[in-house]
């Protein structure tokens, strides 16, 4: 009785949970599939929507540029280090 009540509540408030009561879900039924997924989880919904570009603050832009320069400089240093190591090993 209590379980039946929980089932009715779930069907009304949480379609995914309602589908959980089925022993074997009929995944050929689109409504069953949709009831188990969130709206923005369906491939067709995702492919036609975008969050869109956010406006970066000056601080964020400076941070990204700073880190980009850091990576570039460090890669040059790694190259120097490896060339030294390879020459040292020979």
């Amino acid at each position: 009785m209590k379980q039946e009540k929980a089932k009715r509540y779930a069907q009304a408030h949480d379609p995914g949970s309602a589908a959980a009561h089925a022993e074997h879900p009929d995944l050929q039924d689109p409504n069953v599939v949709l009831s188990l997924l969130e709206a923005d989880q369906v491939v067709a919904a995702k492919t036609r929507t975008r969050f869109g570009k956010r406006k970066l603050s000056v601080g964020a832009r400076l941070l990204l540029w700073g880190l980009r320069v850091y990576v570039f400089v460090m890669l040059v240093i790694v190259l120097i280090s490896v060339i030294r190591a390879l020459h040292g090993g020979q």
């Binding site: 599939v33 188990l36 980009r68 240093i77 790694v78």
Partner: protein, 477 residues
Amino acid sequence: MSRPKDNRPTSAYQPAQPTTESAVTSSIARELVGQLTHEDRDRARDRWRVARARWKGRGWKSLGGLRLLWLLVGPGVLVFLGENDAPSMLSYSATGARFGVGFFVPFVILTFAIGLIVQEMTVRLGAVTHRGHAELIFDRFGKFWGFFSMGDLVLGNFLTLVTEFIGVRAGLGFFGIRPSIAVGAALVFVLAAITTGRYWTWERITLGLAIFNGLFIPAALLAHPNWPQVGHALLTWTPLPRGDRSEILLLILADIGATVTPWMIFFQQSAVVDKGMQPRDIAAGRLDTVLGTLLASTFAIAAILATVPLFHHGINAADFQGAQFAQALEPWIGHVGASLFALGIFEAGIVAAIAISTSSAYAFGEVLGTAHSLNRPIREAWPFYLFLLGSASAAAALVLIPHAPLEFIILTVNVIAVLAMPPALAFLLLLVNDRDLMGEHANGFWGNFAGVTVTVLLVCAGLGFGLFTIFPKLLGG
């Protein structure tokens, strides 16, 4: 072959809005009915099992809770055991052989704690937005920053993939298996894992392989570790490493690079999305990540302990690869122990090759807008699978080319991982603080404090390495 099905339309996109609303009650449900894909149905099946386990288990207190955990475990364990890859296990082995039990034992645990902080953010990002990391970077920061970020990922992933196949070759080389056969066998594993056309099956096969990372535990036990010394090192971080400071710095950097790398961020977020995790699964995703951290750190410490006999006998392991470590260890841990060690390096290479090539393919599909899910059959997502297999095959082929600069790649791969990490972390922190995306799941103060601290630490480690390289006498080297 047919064109992949979900190529994005050329018209303007509608604004996306993260929601926990069920698709069936959403305003676009009627339109979605006719557009469901194989991927949606497979994901719905996974969600049904989770919903059923949750309904039956009512939380974590019963066997139903255990079933729920079993269903939701995956990306976190895989990412950490995948990162315990061939170069990482060799870095840990080199650490044990060079410095024995001491500072590096707790230090490696610290690096895993750093990894946990970073990876937990990817769970939230994936579960809330249902988008991969590359897709979000392109979406929120535009193509300019997106391509920079992808450049770091593609370069790092390819070099790391090459080292995985070097590990595979070296591991099986211990048993006298020819390099071409060893590398071919690894490619067969990668192929077998992806031909399932189902994320769940792929995940379980890869998890099954990944658990063999535990082979380092019996190898360590056969080395008869001095447990009181291990306990002392864990509590006091001593003895501190002595000797060539440049070597110490390089090993510190290599051990950090063995635990936190950009591919892990991209992989776990995409895997969380492919698994179909939702905001209500975040707690389980955290548990999955903690479990992965615990397993991987235990196996990493085991690799250190297994090679400690080389330290005690003064054997120089500076230029050792997988098979050489196993051969050198044989007099002290026996043939069984050495074989386990070699198999461990082989396994580490295979699991990482699967995970890293999948990470590259996810990012490729996300950026180009082609189908990018392991729930898709090959005919529907052939560019995704082709890129996955192609990147693995190219790396494997490079390993077999005579006189290829493999030593160069081994020397650079972990260091490059550390250097590429701060920009990846900056994007991660910007995304996970974006309240338009994350809503109530955005980072709080402590999350940001930890994230910024990790970023600053990594930048400092990189700068230290750079300063020393330019001015070697700074460290007395």
